[in-house]
Amino acid sequence: MLDSYLPVLVILLVSIFIGSAIIVLSTILGKRFPTAIKLMPYECGMDPIGGARRRFSVKFFIIGMLFIVFDIELIFLFPWAKIYDKLMFFGFVEMLLFVVILLAGLIYVWKKGALQWE
């Protein structure tokens, strides 16, 4: 049974190899002429403002919490998808109820403006 994970392992190894190879090769082979501007942290082409250690707004936290809630909803959908052809209409109604209740939650969040940034 574990054999079925062999491709995953191969992909993992290949990606680790390629990723580290690029970094290692460019450090060894590349020529470097450091200037002040080149050493600046790269921030999407903008001039960096202040340090990276700054307090985050609580808004991120709300989004994070809501993400968890809907993430858990999603987790329930996976096993359901696996057997929903066998559960037939019963399974459909069951999941419909679950999703509709959480949809009401989504409507609530949306109307309350908790997803709005400003």
């Binding site: 066998k86 559960l87 037939m88 019963f90 209740i101 009401a104 409507i107 609530y108 109307k111 309350k112």
Partner: protein
């Protein structure tokens, strides 16, 4: 092929009504521009009334539903009734409170309805998973309700403390359930009962039982697992404190009793000993700490800890009499404490500024009727006849004597004698002292007056004519034994 389970919604209809009311209020509130909280309160109150009607048929039946996830019997019926009383009274006392605090927060009622749903599944759960999910639904709603006062840092602090300690206790409960599952291969209460009755149970099962006991002890606020109670009760909005002290406690005791009597009765000797120690500590520490409080909410918090001790005596007695005593006690306690907290809400006024014992000075002169009501509630808490609290204590103590726990009862009686001191301090302040400044008039709302009148009448009525209700209680516990 998969067996499709039979679905019969009639048994859990009260819980469905409450949760549906919660969802409807939540969505409807979004589209109402002003006074959304009042409308939310009215929807919730209507749902509570409907749920009363839907709950009635449960009394006569005794069966399991939903692949034996819930038990529908007289016991469930009784506790559903208690939950609905607690919800209804809390709605009545909250309506004016919210507008006085300047909060048009209809979510308050949404969370109250969700908490009620969780409680109903907790009391009817025939499977530790149902009980746990009910417990969590209840807990999360109550954590948030504790912290809704945006202007009060005490409220936020209380919510955080409650959340952290509550999560900790839920973790212990869950760990206990996991160990029980590991030992017995079942989380259903009948399955657990079978496993423990077989006699060959492992240490893991016993440790699981111990953790479960600690988890429940946290929820009912028994010493030494009571640390969260005073701060949380003080910081929470007064109507919610009332709700926590009766609703959450009743639901936790309901599940506690059901789990321990139905599935762990083979180990009764073991857990009775642990509960004996817990009960003594709870009664002594709760009552002694209450003596030195000058904030009425903290005082009632310690008093509610002490009451958990008295209720534990009913469990220790272990007989049908003891358990039906618990049911009656909780019924009396529900109305008494909700009434008392209603008055605390009323006297507290805006921003809960007047929550000290000294604020009750001379209440008999400014508001004689209110002072009488408060005195009745305090007498009932102290267990003085002819109030309901007296009958409750009497039934529990006499059941314990019959079961041979003389010393426990002596400690119980002594500590309740001590409790008379602090309850009477409030009565003395109301009747014997005069306020240092002229207090502003209290603003009664019709719903608050209704709640107080109902409480006073019921506390006196079931105290003077207790027979019907005692019979009701003993009829309700029949399925447990």
């Amino acid at each position: 092929m998969i067996q499709i389970p039979e679905v019969d919604l009639s048994g859990i209809l009260p819980a469905i009504i409450l949760s549906a009311a919660g969802v409807v209020t939540m969505v409807a509130g979004l589209f109402i521009k002003n006074r959304a909280a009042t409308i939310g309160g009215i929807i919730s109150a209507a749902a509570v009334l409907l749920a009363f009607a839907a709950n009635a048929p449960l009394r006569a039946i005794n069966k399991v539903g939903f692949v034996s996830m819930v038990t529908l019997d007289g016991y469930t019926w009784f506790f559903n009734l208690l939950i609905l009383f607690a919800l209804g009274m809390t709605i009545l006392t909250s309506l004016r409170y919210l507008s006085d605090e300047g909060m048009d927060l209809y979510e308050y009622f949404v969370l109250l309805m969700f908490a009620g749903t969780g409680m109903m599944f907790m009391v009817s759960g025939n499977h530790l998973l149902t009980i746990f999910i009910g417990l969590e639904t209840l807990s999360i709603s109550v954590y948030v309700l504790t912290g809704v006062l945006s202007k009060s840092s005490k409220s936020s602090e209380a919510a955080l403390k409650y959340l952290i300690l509550g999560a900790f206790s839920s973790g212990l409960f869950l760990y206990g359930a996991a160990l029980l599952y590991g030992a017995s291969g079942s989380l259903g209460l009948p399955g657990l009962a079978k496993y423990f009755q077989s006699g060959s149970f492992s240490l893991m099962g016993v440790v699981g039982m111990g953790l479960l006991l600690v988890g429940f002890a946290f929820k009912v606020a028994a010493v030494p697992f009571h640390m969260w109670t005073p701060d949380v009760y003080e910081g929470a909005p007064s109507p919610i404190t009332g709700f926590m002290s009766v609703g959450v406690k009743a639901a936790a005791f309901a599940a506690f009793v059901r789990v321990f009597f139905e599935s762990l009765n083979a180990l009764q000797v073991n857990w009775t000993n642990i509960l004996w120690i817990l009960a003594v500590l709870t009664m002594v520490l709760g009552n002694l700490a209450a003596l030195i409080q000058d904030n009425i909410k903290r005082m009632l918090a310690y008093s509610s800890i002490a009451h958990a001790g008295y209720i534990l005596i009913g469990m220790i007695a272990g007989s049908p009499d003891g358990v039906s005593g618990i049911l009656y006690y909780l019924l009396a306690y529900t109305f008494t404490n909700l009434g008392a907290f209603g008055i605390v809400t009323l006297v507290g006024r805006k921003g809960e500024a007047n929550v000290y014992l000294d604020d009750y000075r001379g209440l008999s002169r400014t508001h004689p009727a209110l002072a009488v009501a408060m005195a009745i509630f305090l007498f009932s808490l102290a267990g003085i006849p002819p109030t309901a609290g007296f009958v409750g204590k009497f039934t529990i103590f006499s059941a314990a004597i019959k079961a041979g726990y003389i010393w426990l009862v002596i400690i119980g009686v002594l500590t309740s004698a001590a409790s008379v001191f602090y309850y009477f301090r409030v009565v003395m302040k109301m009747y014997m002292e005069s306020p240092d400044r002229e207090p502003e008039r209290l603003r009664f709302s019709p719903s608050m007056s209704l709640a107080l009148v109902i409480s006073v009448v019921i506390v006196l009525y079931i105290g003077i004519f207790p027979t019907t209700y005692l019979n009701l209680a003993s009829e309700s516990v029949r399925t447990l034994f």
